[in-house]
Amino acid sequence: MDGYTTSELWSIFAMQGFSGLSLLSVLLLMALGLAIIFGQMGVINMAHGEFMAIGAYTTVMLSKVALEYGFGNYYFLFAIVASFGVAFLVGYLVELGLIQHLYKRPLDTLLATWGLSLIMQQAFRSTFGAKEVSAELPEWLMGSFKPTETVDIPINGVFVMGLTAVVCLGVFIFLFRSRWGLRVRATTQNRVMAGAVGINTKKVDRVTFALGCGIAGVAGAAFTTIASTGPTTGSLYIVDSFMVVVFGGAASLMGTVLSAFGIAQAQSILQFFMDSSMGKVVTLLVIVTILMLRPEGLFAAKVRR
C-alpha cells in the first residue's frame, strides 16, 4: 500500500467502499432470498441466480416498453414490483412441480435445481439472445455527486442501497412481525407440531419458496442499474450468495446482512490493491478458512432440528 498518501487512501477506501456497496446490495438481495429458502426451509436452490436473471430481464423488457410509450422516467418503480411478481410466480410453479417432491433429499434438490438452472439459462438464451442486454435507466438514476474533490458516488448505487434497506426491513417484518412469518418460523422449528396446530405447512413452504425467488427477482431489477444482463448473469452470483448465507449463519437475517457487507467490502477493497482475481481468491479463502473453524457461520440461529 505504499505510494499512496493517507488522504488518497481514504478516498480509495471511500470509493471502493461505495462500489462495494452496489455489489453489496445485489449480493444481499440475492442472499436474503437464499437465506429464506435455504435458511428457513433447508432447500438448496442452485437456480437462484436464474431467478435474479428473470427479474433483470423483466426490468429490461419493461424499460423497452416504457421508452416506447414515453414514460421512461417512472417505469423503474413499477419494474421492481413486476420483477418481484414474475419471479414469485415462477418460483411458486417450480415449488409446485419440482421442489415439493424433494424436501427429504437436500442433496438431490441441489442437483435438480442445477438442472433447472441449465434449462432456464438456455431458455433466456433462446428468448433474449446470447448477447447481454441492458435497461434504459431513467434520468434521475444517472450521474453522481461529489462530497469531496476525490470521492465520486454514483446515484444509482445509493438508490439500490435504499431499495435493499427497504427490502431487508420488509423481510424482517414479514418473518418476525407478521402472522405469516410466525407460521414460517413455526414450520422451520418443528414441522410436525406446526402441522398439528393447524398450519398448512405445504402452503407455507410454497409461499416461502416463492417469496425467496421473488426477492431474487428484486435483486435482478437492482442489478440492471449497475450492469447489463446476459443468460449466465445469475450463475456468476450464485456461489457468492451461498457463501454469504453460509458465512452469516443460515437462518439468521442479521448474519446475512453483516456477512454480505463484509464479503462485498473485502472483495471490492482487495480488488483495488491486488488484481481482481487475487482479491476474490483471498476473500473466498478467508471465508472458507473461517467456515472450517466455525462451521455454523457467524451467527448461528438457535433452531431445534
Binding site: S277, V288, M292
Partner: protein, 402 residues
C-alpha cells in the same frame, strides 16, 4: 479364500458378468468398432469415468456429495501436464524464446526462470508420486478440517464447490505460472515417447481401460469389506455408528482421500490422451457434470458409473455438434429426471428388468446370496439420500464440536 475373493472382488455372479461385459466393451467392441478419432474420444470419456466411480464411492456409499471432484481431476491432470510441458520445452526446441528452456507461456508472461514448484516436475518418478499424492494430501486437508468438525451434507457440497471456484480463479489469474485460461498445451512426448502418434493413442487407451478396471476392482474390495458396511451404516445412521464407538470422521476422510486419488488418476490419463489440461476441467460446472455421470449410471453402481460417463458424454458430443441449443435443455432435463424418477440411475433400471428376465433364480434364502446381494453392484431398494439422516438438520449436528 478363493470364494471370498470371488464374492468381494467380483461381486459374485452378477457382478462378475457385469464386469466382463464392461471389459469386453472397453477392450474389444470399442477398439474394433470405432476409428481412432472416436476411440480417442471414448478414451477421454473413460477418464471422466474415474471421477464417476470415485463419486459412487463417496456419494453413493459414503453419502458425501462433493461438488469439487474437478479439483482432484484437475490436480492430477496438471501434475502430468507440468511434467510433459517441461519435457516439451527443452532449450533446443524453445530457443526462439527470450529465456529458452522454460515453458512458452511463462516466456510470454515475462518470467525469466522456472518457478520453484515446477522444478521437481523434471523427474518422472516425482511426477507419478505427485499425481497420486498432491490431490490426496489436498483432500486430506479439506476432509480433516471439515469432517472432524462434523461439517457434512449440504455444507460440504457448497464448500467443495467454493474451493473448486477458488482453484479455477487462481489458475486463470496466475497465467505465468499455470498457463492461464488456455491451460497447459502443446504436450508432445513422455520420456521421448511421442504421445501424439496413432500407436501411442491405442496404447494409452488400453492402459486407461486397464487402470479403470483395476480401480473398479479395488473399489469393490473396499466396499465388500467391513469398511464398506460401515460406510453404508454411516450414510444411513451416522449418529448410531458414532455411538457404537467408531470415529466417523476418520472413515469419511479416508473415503474422500481415496476418491480424490481415483479422480486424479483419471485426470492424469486425460492429459496423456487429450494432450492438454486447462482450467475448464477444474471448476464448478465440470465438477457438477461429473456428479451427473454417476447419477445417470446409478449412484450405487461402480460399473453403472462408467456407462453413465460414456452415455452422457456421447450425448453431449452428438447434441452439441448438431443441436447446441437443445443440449442444455436435455442436460438440465436429465438432472431433473434422474433425481425425480430414477434415483438409482441406469443400474436401477437394469436391476428392475434383470429381475423380470431372470426370475428363475430361487436361491433367495441362502445366506451367501443375501450378503452378496447387499454388497454387489447394482443395489436394489430405494436410495435414501445421503445427507438426510433425519434430525440432522443441514449436516451440522447439534452436539458441541470437540
Amino acid at each position: 479364500m478363493m470364494k471370498a475373493m470371488y464374492q468381494n472382488m467380483l461381486g459374485g455372479r452378477s457382478g462378475m458378468i457385469g464386469l466382463l461385459i464392461l471389459a469386453a466393451i472397453i477392450f474389444l467392441v470399442l477398439p474394433l468398432g470405432l476409428d481412432l478419432f472416436r476411440l480417442n474420444l471414448v478414451g477421454k470419456y473413460l477418464t471422466y469415468a474415474f471421477v464417476a466411480v470415485s463419486l459412487v464411492l463417496l456419494w453413493g456409499y459414503g453419502g458425501i456429495l462433493s461438488l469439487g471432484q474437478g479439483i482432484f481431476f484437475g490436480l492430477g491432470g496438471y501434475c502430468m501436464a507440468m511434467f510433459l510441458k517441461l519435457e516439451a520445452s527443452d532449450p533446443e526446441s524453445t530457443k526462439i524464446q527470450t529465456t529458452p528452456g522454460i515453458p512458452d507461456f511463462m516466456d510470454w508472461n515475462q518470467l525469466t526462470a522456472l518457478p520453484w514448484f515446477w522444478e521437481p516436475f523434471h523427474s518422472l518418478t516425482f511426477t507419478l508420486i505427485a499425481i497420486l499424492a498432491v490431490p490426496t494430501l489436498f483432500a486430506f486437508i479439506i476432509g480433516y478440517a471439515m469432517f472432524k468438525r462434523r461439517v457434512g451434507g449440504v455444507y460440504f457440497a457448497i464448500i467443495t464447490q467454493v474451493i473448486a471456484l477458488i482453484l479455477t480463479i487462481l489458475i486463470v489469474g496466475q497465467q505465468g505460472y499455470t498457463g492461464g485460461v488456455n491451460g497447459i498445451t502443446d504436450l508432445k512426448t513422455l520420456m521421448g515417447w511421442d504421445i501424439r502418434t496413432d500407436s501411442a493413442k491405442y496404447i494409452l487407451y488400453f492402459i486407461n481401460g486397464a487402470l479403470l478396471i483395476a480401480v473398479i476392482l479395488v473399489s469393490r474390495v473396499i466396499l465388500g469389506s467391513k469398511f464398506g458396511m460401515l460406510m453404508l451404516a454411516m450414510r444411513d445412521k451416522e449418529e448410531r455408528v458414532r455411538f457404537s464407538g467408531y470415529d466417523v470422521a476418520d472413515f469419511k476422510i479416508f473415503v474422500f482421500c481415496l476418491a480424490a486419488m481415483i479422480s486424479a488418476i483419471g485426470g492424469a490419463m486425460f492429459t496423456l490422451q487429450v494432450g492438454f489440461m486447462s482450467p475448464t476441467f477444474v471448476g464448478i460446472v465440470p465438477s457438477i457434470e461429473m456428479v451427473i455421470f454417476a447419477a445417470v449410471g446409478g449412484r450405487m453402481s461402480l460399473i453403472g458409473a462408467v456407462y453413465g460417463a460414456l452415455l452422457v458424454n456421447y450425448g453431449k458430443t452428438v447434441f452439441s455438434e448438431s443441436y447446441p441449443e437443445l443440449w442444455l435443455f436435455l442436460m438440465g432435463g436429465l438432472f431433473i429426471a434422474v433425481v425425480m424418477f430414477f434415483p438409482n440411475g441406469l443400474a436401477g433400471i437394469y436391476d428392475k428388468y434383470e429381475k423380470k428376465l431372470f426370475t428363475r433364480k430361487p436361491r433367495k434364502g441362502s445366506a451367501s446370496a443375501m450378503s452378496s446381494r447387499t454388497l454387489s453392484d447394482p443395489q436394489p431398494g430405494p436410495v435414501r439420500d445421503a445427507a438426510s439422516p433425519p434430525a440432522k438438520g443441514m449436516g451440522i449436528s447439534n452436539q458441541p464440536v470437540n
